[in-house]
Structures are given as structure tokens and as C-alpha cells.
């Protein structure tokens, strides 16, 4: 076991062998539960099967319906071993939602990869947690133009909008497949016939047009390719923390304010009188003030300075 003397030679050998091995094509489809990530990846897998290629499609079930992150790895070629795509080796990332595309960008081959993304935004409840006055949504993501400046080949399109113009917003995924068809070498007719077989009969025509429109969009992206749907941030006047004035003599300990407080920062103390337990959590929403039957609570909010 004279390990150290051999390791360099072995390493070189394996590096060569690695390069010589048949290379698979990697497509990573990503989105949010309920968007149809699995369906889209199945269409790609079927296409590969039709073309007599070995294909592996890998996903994780269980949380898909709960609005969580959904992804599906599709790998195809003459020989495919790993069911998952190594980081930095995806030839295409197809994102059905903008922030999900950004989440997986590190999987994209930085030199030859194509990033195709729907610019639509699905904001999760978790992004709406800064309730303090002036607080911002947690969905604070890079815009399509910012990404395009780093990844020039990026195709960011408003697939939902395009599909809606064609008469059925549900055909958004087909628009994206049309864009994807420009990055993979399969005949257009095969894409079209597979999609026609996969969608409800009455939507075949709109899906056919959705595919063509998506494909044409990708072949000739508009000059200002910018479906910039990110709304500009409007800065609000900065406010000082709210102050609660409690008139203890008027409080009868009915518990209403404690129960309605959205920030759960009130409690009844040992004398059965309301007290603020966590002043930093109070957003000054005034619910306690408005709902107190005895006018025992007043909220004081002071605007310190207005910023633009």
C-alpha cells in the first residue's frame, strides 16, 4: 500500500479517463410545487426515449404539493450513470419561476450552459415576514438584466403573459418548452407530437401555437429582451417604534387584545392587566387600540424623517 508515490499518476490517468468518457446532456427543470415541473421533465424524457437514448430522470416527491422547491434532473446520452447532474454541468436550466432559476444557477455550466427562465414570481409566505413599518419583502432578487449581464445567453421571458395573449395562460410551460427546443437537438415535429399527446385534446391547438411562439421568441429574442417585472422599491418614511400607552385602571383583563395581537407581543400580567411583553415585535398595527372595549390602550407612532 505505497499510496503516496502512486497517487499522482493515478490521478492523471483518471483525469484522462474522465474526459474520454461519453458525456451526457444535462437538463435541470426547476420550479415550485404545483407548476408542472415533473410533467415538463417527463416530456423531455419521452423525447429522449423516442430517439433511443439512455435517459435518467430524477426528482424528489413528498413535499411537491406543499408549495416547496421542486426540481427534476434529466440526463440523456449514449451512457448515463449518475441520476443527478453535477454542480456546474447543466447544459440547460429551465426555470418555471424566477427565484427558483436563480437558486439552481450554480448547477449551470458557466461556459456553455443556457439559462431559460420564466420571469413570473411566486412569493412564498416566508418572504412576507418583515412587518415593521417600511419593511421589505424577502423576495428581493436579481433582475433579468442583472443576470443577463453576467450570463449573456440568458433567455428570460414572461411565458405566462405570452400564453395569456394566445388565449390560455396555462400553456406557459409549453412556451418554455418552445424556448428549450432551441437549446436541444431534437426535431421540432417530435416536440410538437409529444406535447399534443400530453395535453388535453381541446388545448392541442393553443399549445401548438404556444410552442411555436416560445421557439420563435428564443430564436430572435426582442432587443430589449427585458420582461422586467421586478417592481421598483419605494422607500417609505422611516418611523420610530410604536409606543403603547396602557391605562391600567381601565383594563379589566378581558384578554381580547392579547388574543388579537398579530405579533403576539401582549400578555396579561399577574394582576390580570395587559402588558407589552416584547416591545421590539410591536409593529404599531393598532388592532389592540381599536378593539379594546375599554379604551385602555393607545398607540403613539412618530414619523421621524421621510426618505426618498
Amino acid at each position: 500500500m505505497s499510496r503516496s508515490s502512486h497517487s499522482t499518476a493515478v490521478a492523471e490517468h483518471h483525469d484522462n479517463a474522465l474526459r474520454d468518457s461519453a458525456v451526457a446532456t444535462n437538463v435541470l427543470v426547476v420550479g415550485v410545487g404545483g407548476q408542472g415541473v415533473i410533467m415538463v421533465s417527463k416530456v423531455i424524457a419521452l423525447l429522449c426515449q423516442q430517439h433511443q437514448l439512455q435517459v435518467k430522470q430524477s426528482e424528489v416527491h413528498g413535499m411537491a404539493k406543499r408549495g416547496g422547491v421542486v426540481f427534476s434532473h434529466v440526463r440523456f446520452g449514449e451512457q448515463v450513470y449518475s441520476p443527478t447532474i453535477p454542480t456546474g454541468e447543466a447544459d440547460v436550466i429551465l426555470a418555471l419561476e424566477w427565484a427558483e432559476g436563480l437558486r439552481w444557477l450554480r448547477y449551470l455550466n458557466p461556459h456553455t450552459g443556457t439559462f431559460i427562465a420564466d420571469t413570473q414570481q411566486i412569493v412564498p409566505p416566508f418572504a412576507c415576514c418583515n412587518r415593521q413599518p417600511g419593511g421589505l419583502s424577502g423576495y428581493d432578487q436579481l433582475t433579468a438584466n442583472e443576470i443577463r449581464s453576467q450570463l449573456p445567453g440568458t433567455l428570460a421571458l414572461d411565458a405566462g403573459g405570452i400564453a395569456a395573449e394566445l388565449g390560455n395562460s396555462k400553456a406557459a410551460n409549453t412556451v418554455l418548452l418552445g424556448a428549450l427546443s432551441t437549446a436541444l437537438e431534437f426535431p421540432v415535429e417530435d416536440w410538437q407530437s409529444l406535447i399534443a399527446a400530453a395535453v388535453p385534446p381541446q388545448t392541442v391547438e393553443v399549445n401548438r401555437r404556444a410552442f411555436t411562439t416560445g421557439r420563435e421568441w428564443a430564436l430572435n429574442p426582442p432587443a430589449s429582451n427585458a420582461a422586467e417585472s421586478v417592481t421598483p422599491v419605494v422607500l417609505e418614511p422611516v418611523r420610530a417604534p410604536a409606543e403603547l400607552e396602557i391605562t391600567e385602571a381601565w383594563c379589566k383583563g378581558c384578554d381580547i387584545c392579547v388574543k388579537v395581537c398579530p405579533e403576539r407581543c401582549l400578555l396579561l400580567n399577574e394582576r390580570e392587566v395587559v402588558e407589552i411583553s416584547d416591545p421590539a415585535a410591536c409593529t404599531g398595527c393598532r388592532l389592540c387600540e381599536w378593539l379594546c372595549p375599554d379604551f385602555a390602550i393607545r398607540i403613539h407612532i412618530q414619523t421621524v424623517e421621510a426618505q426618498v
Partner: protein, 623 residues
Amino acid sequence: MAQLDNSSSVAVAFETESDGPIAPEAPANVLALMGNDAIARGAWEAGVRVAAAYPGTPSTEILEAVATYPAEDIQAQWSPNEKVACDVAIGASFGGVRALVAMKHVGLNVASDSLMSQTYIGVNGGLVLVVCDDPGMHSSQNEQDTRLLGRFAQVPVLEPADAQEALDFTRIAFDLSEQFDSPVIVRSTTRLSHCRSLVRIGERREVPPRGFCEDPVKNVMIPGHARQRHPVVLARDGAVQKYLATSDLIRWERGETSVGVITLGPAYTYVKEVLPGASVLKLGVSYPLAEKVVREFCDAVERVIVVEELEPFIEHELHALGIEAQGKAFFPRIGEFSPEIVRNGFRQAGVLPGSVENLADAELGIEPLARPPVLCAGCPHITTYMAMRALDARVSGDIGCYTLAAVEPLKAIDTCVAMGSSIGVAVGLAKAGTETKPIVATIGDSTFLHSGIPPLMDAVYNQADITVLLLDNQTIAMTGGQNHPGTGITLRGEPTYRVDFEELIRSLGVQSIKAVDSYNVGAFYQACRDAIEYRGVSVVISNRPCVLDPVKIKGPSLQVEAAGCTACQACMNLGCPALTWGEQRYEGRYKVTVDEALCMGCTLCVQVCPSDCIRPVVAQAHQ
């Protein structure tokens, strides 16, 4: 051996591996199958006559796929828990037919009581347990390694690496089970169970039923008999090892001899991906270890590296044999492998050039958006945990969708241990005598039937002062809406007797039972408050069905009248995914809007809104 030699599946398994891609010369014989579908196909082809399971990710689809084969071929059923499912399969094996039981890794903990005795008994008809591990805990409470339980029970553990092997190994498992008179485990993982690839399928081979075999010393495990059976189990291990010395299940792929890699399961595919030139010993069986081949392999290479997910199982076996081998020094013991993790490990070992990458490194300066799974819009569990939070209860939770209420904004679950644990834990909390808050156990309908009945009996018997919330959403929602004895529908969709929860709970001695619709926030809150004030065991049953299964419920959507919204955020505390922030603000805080595509009109937000500004969308008159 005769059974194996006659089986075409062995030949197919290795033909496809060595010949590279499957040439779909006869497309009808090649299907794109998920690992779980392939396991079901393998069972059907092996002539299985009885299959049972309790759903659990990532194993659920196995029995769903089995149920797509004709009922005349296979009796397929959901059982209330994994032990019952295992016992059903054991009974079928006693009856002389081939039987399969499927479960997730933690399901084997429940079934292990039966397995530990059945390993002494052996089989009559072939008995196979398919156990799906979840490295990385995509949908589980731990990442235990089933191989350890396989060794504990001393039953062979087969390790398919892709969907083709999932089919082939499942077939072979039944042959091995009968040949060696032993239950056999086929071990899958999430990555294998949920990966779809092309599989060459075969025909069903009918196995003539053997009939019950009267042999009390073998079949009846009393001390006197078990003492005679234990030596048989030990001898069986040796016999399997001897078989493995020449079996195709252990495959030596010759290559560069400076490094030899011993690997198994999906980890094998990552090794082939990043180190195609190495000598590889692919173990199709992890227990017992194929000692003879392993020794020969290790002698033929200069350095031995073991690549295995989870525990250093093979590595420790090698050390026990006195073989110098490395593994967990370079490859993590925690989480799921990937090609880059395996590549990094070989770099760390000096086998591949390049420096070790920090895989967590974010590029392009992107901070990934936090998007944890959430309860659905209109989920009946939302009210439950709002009430628990408002009542400031100490809540022992259980396994199901409702565990999602453990995080903000509901954040109303204090403990979650294992299937059915909530009620027993609540009893213990009460007996500890330290708790000043009301003690409440929350448990779903299926989890209650799985293992919640004995602890409720315990609570009544030992007079614990607790409240139990039975969240009867009439389906097994977390795994995708399967049926159970409380839904009155079988795996094959046929009507059957439906458990009456109130009657069942009353028969255990519970005096205070109230069923209430959790869409009525006030009534539900009041029922919970009354139950908490009751001294002794009280049960509140929430009987609102799941919004997704068995039918997806979509009522008229609601909308927020922005003029009236004071941005108080009371509705945002529901954690409903259909509620989000709009563009307008009030006193610096965002007003709320409703995503009409997601909203199903449950009205929970209407009921909590203090400014009465959430209303139904007024339908546009159709011309």
C-alpha cells in the same frame, strides 16, 4: 441454485450493464419506469401473490404500482401500519405463496418486532421486505441506515443501483428467500425510488402455491423451538456467503489497480461518473459481506476506498476482516451523495487532482430565497394550530402534513418524535407534573390508526389530564392521499367498512368527545377551550377533509378590498400561501392581496380579519 439458473432475470440484469445503453429493439419490452414502479414490476414478474404496505415517502408508489396489476394475480392492500403489513406478508408466506411488504426506513422499526422472530422461522413462500432509506431526509425524521437492521436480523440485504436492477433484484430476492429459507430485504433509497429510467421488463412467472407446511419447531417460536432455530440462522449466513462467492450480484469491474473502489447502490453511479477508469467492486448484496470476493479484490489493488452513503457499514466489515480500507475519511456519513460530493471525496483522498471545493459556495452573489414547504391554501390544520397558539398550549405533535405547523407563522408544535408518539408523550408530560400550560397531543387520522390507539388507551387507563386533537382529514395527505381503514376505501378503490372514530374512542373509555368543523374558527376554538378545561382525557375531532385528496376542492376565490385593509397582518399569521403582500401600504406596512388562482374560499382569513375587508370575488356576469 437451480431456481436461479432457470431465471432469465439474472442474465438480463448484467447484459444491460455490460452492453451499455438499452437498444429499444422491441419498445414494448422497454419502459421508462421509476425505481418504485420497477420494484412492483419485479414483484409481479416473480409471481408474488400478496403485497401489503403502509404509505411512507419514498416507498409509497410501490404498492400503488402493485395495485395496477390484476387482482387475480396479486392481493394488494394498505395495512394500518408497517408491522401489520409485515405480519400479513409473513402469513401469506406461511400459506406458501410469495409475499412482499414495502415500507420506508423508519417503517422497519415498527415491523422489526416481527422480522426479528421471522428470521428464525424462515419462509415457506418467498418473503421480501422492500425498505426505502432517505439519505438527506428529503421527507423523514431521521436518516437511519437499513443495512444495520439487516445485519441485526441476519437477513440478506440486496442493493440495486438503478431502476433496471430494482426490477431484477426484486425478482432475484424471492428466489434467494426460498433458496436460503430466509426473509430478504431489498434496500432502496430516495434517489433510486424516485428516478425514472429505461427498464427491460419480462413476463410473470407463476409460482405454484406450496400450501401451509406443518412444522411446529420451525413455525412456532417458543423458547424450546427458538433455541433450535438460532444455530440455523447462523449457518444460513455462511451459506449465503458461499453463494455470493460466485454470484453475479457481486460484480468486479477491472480497471486501474492503484485504487480499488468498493461501492453499492446509487453511490456506484456517482463513482462511475467521476472515476470511470478505477477498479470497482460493486456489491449487489451488502449483508452478508461477500468475503471471498472482497478479499481477492482488496489483494488485487494497492489501495481500497469504500464509497457508501450513510453509515460506514462496509468499511467496518472490512476493518473487522483486517483489511486496510478508507471511506468516511473522505466521504460524508451524513446526507445524500451526489457526483460532486464523490468527486470531492476522491480529491481529498488524492485520487483525483484539484483542490477540494466548498460545495456550499454561492456563486453570482445569489442568496437563495427561503421557500420551505407550507400548509396548502384552505388546509383544515391551519385553524387547529391557530387555536393551539391562542390557547398557549404545550403541544406534542406527530407525523404528517401538520408537522409543518412547527415553524412560523403558526409555530405551535413543541415536540415531534415518531409515528403515533404524540399521545404517549403528552401522557409523560402530564405525569412529569412540571407543565403549567395545558397539554395537548395533535395526531392525524391515519397516524392515530397506525399507532395512536394504544397510547390513548394508556391515557385513559392511567388517568392523564390531557387533550387529544384528532385531525381527521380523511386521507393520508402527506404521502399523496392514500386510503386507510378510516376512509372506508381500499387500495384498489373498493368500498369497505369505515372506522367510526367517535365509536372507537368512546370504547377506549374517553368521556369527553366533540367533533367539530375546523373551518368554523370560533366553534373550533371554543371546543378546544372546553376540552382543555375538562379534567381527564378529552378528545376533539376536527372532521374537515383535506383540500387536495381525494378530490381537489376549489370554491370561489376571495379578495381583499384594499381601501379597508389596515395591514394589521392578522391574516398573514395563517401562513396561507394564497395570501401575500400587495403593492399598497398602510402606515408603512404592506396591505394584503389574495392570489385568486390559489385561494379556494375556505374563509379562515375572513373570520380573523378585524376590519372585515376580505370578501368573495364578485362574479362577472356572463353575456
